[in-house]
């Protein structure tokens, strides 16, 4: 029992912090959003190949870093401060975790080193027409060896060389690998420009291969682990929103005083810090618990996701409010935080959905939503 970072964890934190401070400026973010891909390929290459961020949690047997969720959360938290777009969540967490959990040894040997090294990308397609995440709601089907279905809200699909898709064969949820060129990928204009959604339409496509393990289990683990890392990212974004607003409040003068000297502003900033600290506690508690006792992953995922969502929603909204008019303009970064907050809140299930799961976990009879 020692609930602080180890020396190694501190090193990872410093490295990530330094890298993202260096490469993740507001200008870099805007340049990436203007680009064709929507992210900076050079930064991504550096993240994946030099720093090993793409394969943080992929085991070292398959070319990853073999780190735990705590270490990965440290990186995601720092990345979250920048809002920098990259295929890290879709490829490195969702797709890689699904392959690692349900893939055959051959499949893992072929694909994981590629993904962990950042040479290739993959996306995980789960979410059906209704929009719900998780294995219980898969509505694509695998019939006569072909997949039929429409997947909404797919992350990083455009950059993907491979789509790992969930489909139902009779009562069983299967994971299959679809060739990128056999499926139709529509990239949407999303409110949050930094993480565009895609719709993937699959009209009777024959998978390149099937993953032999339990699709349902692999899916749920992938999404739950992604919840914790998304929560870490949200926490970093919230901390950044707080820091920038504190800096603004110290320098902006109204009524002859720095606005940060008004108690209304001070107390709002204090409330933001209370939220940020709660999110940090929730995220690392969840990551550490899931690393040490994987059976706790489902409730830990919901715990982290709900708290980080409330925290970032609160902090980003106050970032806009406390910046006044300027915070409402396109030229200021506040709107990126605000929109990221909303998008992250809806990703992998709403606060209400996750809290309902927690209620069930607490032993309150009722139906689990998954």
């Amino acid at each position: 029992m020692q609930f602080e970072f180890t020396e190694e964890q501190r090193l990872i934190q410093n490295m990530a912090s330094e890298f993202f401070r260096d490469r993740g400026s507001s200008e870099a973010l805007r340049a990436a959003l203007e680009s064709e891909r929507g992210y900076d390929a050079d930064i991504w290459r550096q993240m994946a190949q030099e720093l090993g961020f793409a394969g943080l949690t992929v085991s070292d047997a398959y070319g990853g870093q073999g780190l735990g969720l705590v270490e990965a959360a440290i990186v995601y938290e720092q990345m979250g401060r920048t809002l920098l777009p990259s295929p890290m969540l879709g490829t490195g967490v969702l797709a890689a975790t699904a392959i690692e959990h349900a893939g055959s040894e051959t499949q893992k040997r072929e694909w994981l080193p590629q993904l962990a090294g950042g040479n290739r990308c993959a996306a995980l397609a789960v979410c059906g027409r209704g929009g719900a995440h998780g294995s219980a709601r898969v509505d694509a089907v695998l019939e006569d060896g072909r997949v039929h279905g429409t997947y909404r809200f797919v992350l990083d699909a455009q950059a993907a060389d491979l789509i790992i898709a969930a489909a139902r064969r009779q009562d069983e949820v299967m994971l299959v690998a679809l060739p990128r060129d056999g499926v139709e990928v529509e990239r949407h204009v999303s409110l949050d420009l930094t993480r565009p959604h895609h719709t993937v339409r699959v009209r009777g496509v024959e998978p390149r291969w099937e993953l032999p393990g339990s699709g349902a289990a692999a899916l749920d683990v992938a999404i739950q682990r992604a919840c914790i890392l998304l929560a870490a990212e949200q926490t970093g974004a919230a901390a950044e929103a707080l820091d920038r607003t504190v800096a603004y409040a110290r320098e902006r003068v109204q009524f002859g005083r720095a606005i940060g000297s008004f108690q209304a502003v001070k107390h709002r900033l204090a409330d933001m810090m209370i939220q940020v600290e709660a999110a940090i506690s929730a995220v690392y508690f969840a990551a550490c618990s899931a690393d040490e006792a994987p059976a706790t992953l489902p409730q830990m995922a919901s715990l982290a996701k709900v708290q980080a969502t409330e925290t970032l929603t609160f902090c980003a909204a106050n970032m806009v409010q406390l910046h006044g008019g300027i915070g409402f303009t396109w030229e200021h970064d506040a709107h990126y935080f605000f929109k990221r907050a909303r998008a992250s809140a809806t990703l992998f299930g709403s606060v209400a959905e996750h809290q309902e799961r927690l209620a069930v976990h607490m032993g309150l009879e009722g139906e689990a939503v998954s």
């Binding site: 959604h197 008019g325 303009t329 709403s350």
Partner: protein, 398 residues
């Protein structure tokens, strides 16, 4: 205390509704339902002229300035029917609701005769020059300057400075501008309320892109802009008092029109919730009911505020109305997005352009900022309505 209307008032309602329906299913059908501040400005200017020609533009004004001397009940009825007919957002809003009443109340006869008929006829559009980049909510910190100089046609004000959040400036013929006209004055002293023509080389309007991706606001630069000496409302140096009066007019009958727009937005959210099943969710149902409750309360508060407006003093609801609606509307934006769920994250087309509810979600973030942030509103309530000690003004200069 009475909520209902008399038969005469109901007859008036019928007249309003008939005229609106005729126009909006006829010559102005193409602009029916437009809520954007900036879309189809030319057509909406024509609509202002049509309203003016039929005497519907400023019905609460005296008949001699193009109004109808309408009483409160009639104004309520007009606002309700205007919204019910989904008539377009008023391009003439700033003139009819702010500049006009200010000139009527604080101006001289010559100004009334020069400006009011053009406003009520829908000929001249107005915009507002209050906020400045360095001042924000702090009107006493205005730094735009005006000095009297001799010009070819007599003495005139020459203006230097910059205003921000000047919505509709790109369509306006006139702007009311708070300027510092006494060299070296500070705070509320030495300000004047000038009426300035927009079509002149000394004025440059630059749109500000806001978080919706659109540009509803502007920065307006005054670089040697001029206006005739007589275009000052109230005495030179008396601008603070006049400007505060204008702010009070913001709490006028137009609030009822705004409420009807809110009502339409809530109806859209309810429809969306019914369509996607969110209406079955007990948590969403509670929030929809709460939003409905807020609508009723806003209506009642507005009626209390307007019914008591003659007494002169600001009443309880007049103090609390701005922060109430702004906060309510911002929450409505959150509710809309929670009803839409993840689908609300996606635009229909290929541009960064969203539908009404998504735009409302983003735009409503400004509601708690402009026209006095929620923080400023709470100060006002605490100090002016509750008599608590005033916030000390700092000594630091920006």
């Amino acid at each position: 205390m009475k909520l209902g209307f008399t038969p005469e008032q109901e007859a008036f309602r019928g007249e309003v509704a008939a005229w609106l329906e005729e126009q909006l299913s006829g010559p102005f059908a193409h602009i029916r339902g437009i809520t954007s501040q900036t879309a189809m400005a030319e057509e909406r200017h024509a609509w202002e002229r049509a309203l003016g020609a039929a005497g519907w533009s400023a019905i609460g004004w005296p008949a001699r300035y193009g109004g109808r001397d309408a009483d409160l009940a009639q104004q309520v009825i007009f606002a309700e029917e205007y919204a019910r007919a989904r008539a377009p957002g008023r391009l003439g809003h700033m003139g009819v609701e702010l500049a006009g009443p200010t000139i009527l109340h604080f101006g001289d006869d010559a100004q009334r005769q020069r400006f009011l008929p053009k406003i009520s006829a829908g000929e001249e559009m107005w915009c507002q020059g209050y906020s400045e980049p360095g001042a924000g909510s702090d009107l006493a910190n205005v730094r735009t300057k005006a000095r009297l100089e001799s010009g070819p046609d007599g003495r005139r004000w020459v203006i230097e400075g910059q205003k921000i959040w000047t919505s509709l400036a790109q369509f306006a013929q006139w702007c009311f501008v708070i300027c510092r006209t006494e060299e070296g004055s500070r705070g509320r002293e030495g300000l004047s309320y000038l009426l300035v023509p927009m079509d002149q080389p000394g004025i440059d309007v630059r749109p500000i892109r806001q978080m919706t991706g659109e540009a509803d606001f502007n920065e307006t630069f005054f670089d040697g802009a001029v206006t005739a000496e007589e275009n000052v409302v109230g005495a030179p140096g008396d601008g603070w008092r006049v400007a505060m009066g204008t702010l009070a007019f913001e709490r006028g009958v137009s609030t009822l029109a705004q409420q009807m727009q809110f009502r339409n937005e809530l109806a859209q959210i309810v429809d969306a919730a019914k369509a996607n099943g969110a209406a079955q969710d007990p948590l969403i149902r509670q929030r929809l009911a709460k939003a409905w409750r807020g609508l009723q309360i806003m209506r009642a508060s507005a009626l209390r505020m307007l019914s008591g407006a003659d007494s002169g003093a600001l009443s309880g609801p007049a103090f609390t109305y701005k922060i109430y609606w702004a906060t309510w509307h911002r929450e409505l934006g959150d509710l809309a997005m929670d009803v839409l769920g993840q689908s609300g994250e996606i635009a229909e087309g290929d541009d960064y352009a969203f539908d009404d509810l998504q735009r409302m979600y983003l735009f409503s973030r400004a509601d708690t900022i402009y026209a006095g942030t929620n923080q400023i509103q709470r100060n006002l309530i605490a100090e002016r309505a509750l008599g608590l000690p005033k916030e000390p003004r700092g000594t630091g200069q920006q």
